[in-house]
């Protein structure tokens, strides 16, 4: 997984934004390129990831689940990172970059609130202002995270347009960025958006895959992660792209852009997109709010097309039992998003898709505390 050429991964990616945002995107690109080549920036980020975010996160052999399934399951524990998910990796990188660019404020979109909480956290740590855009529907569904963000000093702005969910929160964050590009950085939460975001966010997340590769004794046969926009998967895959490991991305059935979408342009990039026959973007529906997005990062679209990664779909019905099974066999309450990856392993183990005796690395992208109300409702 290399740097995109002219902002593109094969036919995907690009910078489809209004003219007013072009200079801002170009400024983020050059600032990131320069910072990423600067050992001082890298070491400051590494230091924060260690002393603040709790990296490296553990690699946990899931012994009892492995015995039940007949495959060796290794869990990369992003649920143990500060704020409870991998989102902090990207946000600390972008917040440091924002400071380096002389910005005083972070803008972010959030669906479930995990990226919003991570952004509010990094802003508090580094003395930046944070404004988080969140759909009205999600604000109601995720009251706990809204409260967390406000406690951390962030302003949470309800988005009332369109479907009032993540898709519209992202549109609104981009609209508002236009009005304050001089002092604000748009801290996008996944491997999507206009160039350089898909590349930059993947680089900030590759710490997941790089660590896991060092922690695994030998290359696993399979490397599995859930995919919404696809940042935890992109970060995980980045550590194994040059190995013989089979890379598997697991989409939510109601947000499966690769399985059920076709190429389109939304939020600044070209990729697979859920849309109707006329090109109007469809609303995604998943029990896991973090996978509730109609698109997918452009690099995933490319990895799919060239056959380097496989993308598969898991339904809501498979997800809840997977949460329970991991909890009872390993004592780990994972997020509903992460449970998609676990559910695929459970389904595929012992079949041709994941033969008995294989070693499979699964990224647990986050912890499940945020999902307790949903799980209580499903019980």
């Amino acid at each position: 997984m290399r740097e995109p050429q002219n902002g593109r991964f094969g036919d995907y990616g690009g910078r489809f934004v209004p003219e007013s945002l072009i200079p801002a995107c170009a400024a983020v690109e050059s600032a990131f390129r320069e910072a990423w080549g600067d050992p001082e920036f890298r070491s400051e980020l590494k230091r924060l990831l260690a002393v603040y975010a709790g990296r490296p996160t553990a690699l946990t052999p899931a012994l009892r689940l492995s015995a039940e399934l007949g495959v060796t399951v290794l869990l990369k524990r992003e649920d143990l990172a500060h704020t409870g998910s991998h989102k902090i990796n990207n946000v600390l990188g972008q917040a440091l970059l924002a400071k380096r660019m002389g910005k005083t404020r972070l803008l972010a979109e959030t669906g479930a609130g995990q990226h919003g909480v991570a952004t509010a956290t990094a802003a508090a740590l580094l003395g930046l202002d944070a404004t988080v855009f969140m759909g009205e529907v999600d604000i109601e569904r995720q009251a706990l995270n809204v409260f967390r963000m406000r406690m951390l000093g962030a302003e949470v702005v309800p988005v009332t347009g369109g479907t009032r969910t993540l898709k519209d929160a992202t549109s609104e964050a981009m609209r508002q960025w236009v009005t304050c590009v001089d002092h604000a950085h748009y801290c996008l939460g996944s491997v999507m958006g206009p160039h350089p975001y898909p590349w930059m966010v993947r680089e900030f997340q590759r710490v997941i895959g790089d660590e896991a590769r060092e922690q695994c004794a030998g290359t696993p046969d399979y490397v599995v992660a859930c995919v919404g926009g696809g940042s935890n998967a992109a970060g995980t895959f980045a550590g194994f792209a040059d190995t013989g490991a089979t890379l598997v991305g697991v989409e939510a059935e109601g947000g499966a852009a690769i399985a059920f979408g076709r190429a389109g342009v939304l939020h600044g990039f070209r990729s697979y997109l859920l849309q109707d026959e006329f090109g109007q973007v469809s609303e995604a529906h998943s029990i896991a709010p973090g996978l509730d997005y109609p698109g997918i990062g452009p690099e995933h679209a490319h990895l799919n097309d060239i056959g380097r990664a496989r993308y598969t779909v898991v339904s809501d019905d498979e997800v809840v039992p997977a949460v329970h099974r991991l909890a009872r066999t390993e004592g780990i309450l994972c997020a509903l998003e992460s449970a998609h990856a676990i559910a695929w392993v459970i389904r595929a183990a012992g079949t041709g898709e994941l033969p008995a005796g294989s070693t499979v690395l699964v990224t647990v992208s986050g912890r499940g505390d945020k999902d307790m109300a949903t799980l209580m409702g499903a019980a």
Binding site: G14, R15, F16, V17, P18, E19, S20, L21, I22, P23, A24, G161, G162, K167, D168, S171, M174, R175, V178, T179, V181, A263, G264, V265, L266, H267, G268, L273, Q275, F278, G279, Q280, V281
Partner: protein, 276 residues
Amino acid sequence: MTLSVGDNVNVEEHLRRRRDEGRPLLVPYLTGGISADWTRYLTEYARAGADAIEIGLPFSDPILDGPVIQEASDRALRRGVTVRDLLAEVAAVDVGVPLIAMTYYNLVAQSPDFCRGLAAAGITGLIVPDLPVDEAAPLVAAAEAAGVALTLLAAPSTPADRLAEIARVSRGFVYTVSVMGTTGTEFAESGGRIAASVRALTDRPVLLAFGISTTGHAVTAAGHADGVVIGAALMRRILDGGTPEQLGDVLASFRRALDDSVMTREQGSRVPADRS
């Protein structure tokens, strides 16, 4: 009656001619499909003195539009309108001034024949706000082949070298955004600076857009550019129940204010209100 491409009005020739007559250009916007009788607004706009009309083809995720045009797009989409239906309705009316489609790239990219479809409906201009000049090459070619003027946007943040490229590639006119914001943002006279920069680079018409909600704004803006685009201010009235006739009256007041401003300027300076 469906016009053939050969009969279509060339946006740039038309706007240049009117500008060169000393007329400040007035281009109102309408969200296509906003009501069952939406094409009547086109007729009234033309009657009230529009020099061209921008028709928004509604998209689910209008990234450059503020709350008013978002609401208008949502309302039109809830009516179940499709690009195909809207084009068929446009083809059935003869408004007498050039029609310019404004929509987002995902709708345009649905079909390699998108521009031909516009031309077949008598629409001879296209504005795609999420398609910057760097990404525009494929559409530039398709638009040209179909006889559709692809108009590019310039923004206050656009650096000089990009501005030159935009002025070179844009057809019809250059759509200059007055403020760093979305449609319907408050008008800023600073937009005049960007319009002046664009006019120094090209003799294509330069229109100033975004936030022009009063006749005073329009007169100020037209002092810096060849004319104005008025969108959210009209759509707000339509969302609030304004009829085609009422909107025609509103637009006529903009027309009068712009024309009066030329006379005032001529009398004041005793030089023709041309571009010199």
